[in-house]
Symmetry: C2
Protein backbone atom coordinates (compact mmCIF):
# COMPACT_ATOMS: atom_id res chain seq x y z
CA UNK A 1 0.00 0.00 0.00
CA UNK A 2 1.09 3.52 -0.68
CA UNK A 3 1.04 5.93 2.24
CA UNK A 4 1.46 9.66 2.22
CA UNK A 5 3.78 10.68 5.02
CA UNK A 6 4.48 14.22 6.12
CA UNK A 7 7.84 14.97 7.68
CA UNK A 8 8.32 18.27 9.51
CA UNK A 9 11.87 19.33 10.24
CA UNK A 10 12.46 22.25 12.53
CA UNK A 11 15.39 23.76 14.36
CA UNK A 12 15.87 22.72 17.98
CA UNK A 13 15.03 25.33 20.60
CA UNK A 14 18.01 27.62 21.09
CA UNK A 15 19.33 27.25 17.55
CA UNK A 16 19.22 30.58 15.75
CA UNK A 17 16.69 30.61 12.90
CA UNK A 18 18.36 33.09 10.52
CA UNK A 19 15.76 32.64 7.79
CA UNK A 20 12.83 33.18 10.15
CA UNK A 21 14.51 36.17 11.74
CA UNK A 22 15.21 37.78 8.36
CA UNK A 23 11.59 37.32 7.35
CA UNK A 24 10.37 38.73 10.65
CA UNK A 25 12.46 41.86 10.15
CA UNK A 26 11.33 42.24 6.52
CA UNK A 27 7.66 41.86 7.45
CA UNK A 28 8.11 44.41 10.24
CA UNK A 29 9.67 46.85 7.78
CA UNK A 30 6.70 46.36 5.46
CA UNK A 31 4.40 47.24 8.36
CA UNK A 32 3.01 43.84 9.33
CA UNK A 33 2.45 43.41 13.11
CA UNK A 34 4.54 40.27 13.32
CA UNK A 35 6.10 39.07 16.58
CA UNK A 36 8.06 36.00 15.57
CA UNK A 37 8.63 33.80 12.55
CA UNK A 38 9.77 30.20 12.64
CA UNK A 39 10.89 28.49 9.45
CA UNK A 40 10.35 24.79 8.89
CA UNK A 41 11.07 22.34 6.14
CA UNK A 42 8.35 19.87 5.20
CA UNK A 43 8.59 16.83 2.96
CA UNK A 44 5.53 14.99 1.73
CA UNK A 45 6.70 11.48 0.91
CA UNK A 46 4.85 8.68 -0.83
CA UNK A 47 6.09 5.38 0.59
CA UNK A 48 5.18 1.74 0.07
CA UNK A 49 4.52 -0.01 3.37
CA UNK A 50 2.43 -2.80 4.86
CA UNK A 51 0.73 -0.63 7.46
CA UNK A 52 0.59 2.90 8.82
CA UNK A 53 3.01 1.90 11.58
CA UNK A 54 5.42 0.40 9.06
CA UNK A 55 5.32 3.58 6.94
CA UNK A 56 5.99 5.71 10.00
CA UNK A 57 8.94 3.56 11.09
CA UNK A 58 10.50 3.58 7.63
CA UNK A 59 10.32 7.34 7.29
CA UNK A 60 11.43 8.01 10.88
CA UNK A 61 14.47 5.87 10.10
CA UNK A 62 15.07 7.87 6.91
CA UNK A 63 14.90 11.07 8.98
CA UNK A 64 17.56 9.81 11.34
CA UNK A 65 19.82 8.67 8.50
CA UNK A 66 19.33 11.38 5.90
CA UNK A 67 16.69 14.06 6.27
CA UNK A 68 17.36 15.67 9.64
CA UNK A 69 20.56 16.87 11.26
CA UNK A 70 20.28 15.55 14.84
CA UNK A 71 22.66 18.19 16.18
CA UNK A 72 20.42 21.13 15.35
CA UNK A 73 17.08 19.77 14.10
CA UNK A 74 14.04 17.97 15.46
CA UNK A 75 11.73 16.01 13.20
CA UNK A 76 8.20 14.71 13.39
CA UNK A 77 6.57 12.12 11.16
CA UNK A 78 2.83 11.97 10.48
CA UNK A 79 1.26 9.30 8.32
CA UNK A 80 -1.76 10.40 6.36
CA UNK A 81 -4.18 7.97 4.81
CA UNK A 82 -3.22 5.37 2.27
CA UNK A 83 -3.62 6.54 -1.27
CA UNK A 84 -4.33 4.58 -4.38
CA UNK A 85 -1.97 5.24 -7.26
CA UNK A 86 -2.45 3.35 -10.53
CA UNK A 87 0.86 1.63 -11.37
CA UNK A 88 1.15 3.31 -14.77
CA UNK A 89 0.69 6.84 -13.46
CA UNK A 90 3.55 6.75 -11.01
CA UNK A 91 6.26 9.29 -11.50
CA UNK A 92 9.36 7.58 -12.75
CA UNK A 93 12.06 10.17 -13.29
Amino acid sequence: MNFEVEVRIELKPGVIDAEGETIRKSLKLLGYPVNDVKSLKVYVIGVNADSKKDAEEKIADACRRLLANPVIQNYSVKVKNARIIPENSRKRL
Copy 2:
Protein backbone atom coordinates in the same frame (compact mmCIF):
# COMPACT_ATOMS: atom_id res chain seq x y z
CA MET B 1 -4.59 39.37 20.21
CA ASN B 2 -1.71 37.26 19.06
CA PHE B 3 -2.49 34.56 16.53
CA GLU B 4 -0.29 31.75 15.35
CA VAL B 5 -0.53 31.46 11.59
CA GLU B 6 0.94 28.67 9.50
CA VAL B 7 1.94 29.45 5.92
CA ARG B 8 2.66 26.57 3.56
CA ILE B 9 4.50 27.41 0.35
CA GLU B 10 4.76 24.76 -2.32
CA LEU B 11 5.74 24.63 -5.96
CA LYS B 12 2.96 24.87 -8.50
CA PRO B 13 2.10 21.66 -10.36
CA GLY B 14 4.46 21.26 -13.29
CA VAL B 15 7.37 23.11 -11.69
CA ILE B 16 10.31 20.79 -11.19
CA ASP B 17 11.02 20.11 -7.51
CA ALA B 18 14.79 19.54 -7.63
CA GLU B 19 15.15 19.20 -3.87
CA GLY B 20 12.33 16.65 -3.60
CA GLU B 21 13.67 14.69 -6.55
CA THR B 22 17.19 14.58 -5.13
CA ILE B 23 15.83 13.30 -1.82
CA ARG B 24 13.70 10.70 -3.60
CA LYS B 25 16.74 9.37 -5.45
CA SER B 26 18.86 9.36 -2.28
CA LEU B 27 16.20 7.50 -0.29
CA LYS B 28 15.84 4.98 -3.12
CA LEU B 29 19.61 4.42 -3.11
CA LEU B 30 19.47 3.80 0.65
CA GLY B 31 16.78 1.17 0.05
CA TYR B 32 13.61 2.99 1.14
CA PRO B 33 10.51 2.13 -0.95
CA VAL B 34 9.75 5.75 -1.77
CA ASN B 35 7.65 6.77 -4.78
CA ASP B 36 7.71 10.53 -4.71
CA VAL B 37 8.92 13.35 -2.49
CA LYS B 38 7.53 16.86 -2.47
CA SER B 39 9.38 19.61 -0.64
CA LEU B 40 7.54 22.49 1.00
CA LYS B 41 8.51 25.51 2.98
CA VAL B 42 6.49 26.33 6.09
CA TYR B 43 6.55 29.46 8.20
CA VAL B 44 4.88 29.65 11.60
CA ILE B 45 4.19 33.33 12.20
CA GLY B 46 2.98 35.07 15.33
CA VAL B 47 0.89 38.07 14.31
CA ASN B 48 -1.13 40.69 16.18
CA ALA B 49 -4.65 40.96 14.78
CA ASP B 50 -8.17 41.77 15.87
CA SER B 51 -9.66 38.48 14.75
CA LYS B 52 -8.85 35.19 13.06
CA LYS B 53 -10.03 36.62 9.74
CA ASP B 54 -7.89 39.73 10.18
CA ALA B 55 -4.82 37.60 10.93
CA GLU B 56 -5.47 35.47 7.85
CA GLU B 57 -5.86 38.51 5.61
CA LYS B 58 -2.70 40.15 6.90
CA ILE B 59 -0.57 37.08 6.35
CA ALA B 60 -2.14 36.25 2.95
CA ASP B 61 -1.21 39.78 1.91
CA ALA B 62 2.35 39.24 3.19
CA CYS B 63 2.52 36.03 1.13
CA ARG B 64 1.55 37.90 -2.02
CA ARG B 65 4.03 40.70 -1.36
CA LEU B 66 7.01 38.87 0.09
CA LEU B 67 6.85 35.21 1.03
CA ALA B 68 5.71 33.42 -2.13
CA ASN B 69 6.83 33.73 -5.72
CA PRO B 70 3.53 33.79 -7.66
CA VAL B 71 5.19 32.57 -10.86
CA ILE B 72 6.20 29.18 -9.46
CA GLN B 73 4.66 28.85 -5.99
CA ASN B 74 1.27 28.39 -4.37
CA TYR B 75 0.65 29.31 -0.77
CA SER B 76 -1.93 28.47 1.85
CA VAL B 77 -2.59 30.25 5.12
CA LYS B 78 -4.04 28.58 8.19
CA VAL B 79 -4.76 30.47 11.39
CA LYS B 80 -4.35 28.46 14.55
CA ASN B 81 -5.78 29.56 17.85
CA ALA B 82 -4.92 32.79 19.56
CA ARG B 83 -2.07 32.49 21.97
CA ILE B 84 -1.36 34.48 25.06
CA ILE B 85 2.15 35.86 25.25
CA PRO B 86 3.14 37.98 28.24
CA GLU B 87 4.50 41.29 26.93
CA ASN B 88 7.85 40.91 28.71
CA SER B 89 8.60 37.45 27.31
CA ARG B 90 8.27 38.41 23.66
CA LYS B 91 11.30 37.85 21.53
CA ARG B 92 12.87 41.16 20.65
CA LEU B 93 15.96 40.53 18.57
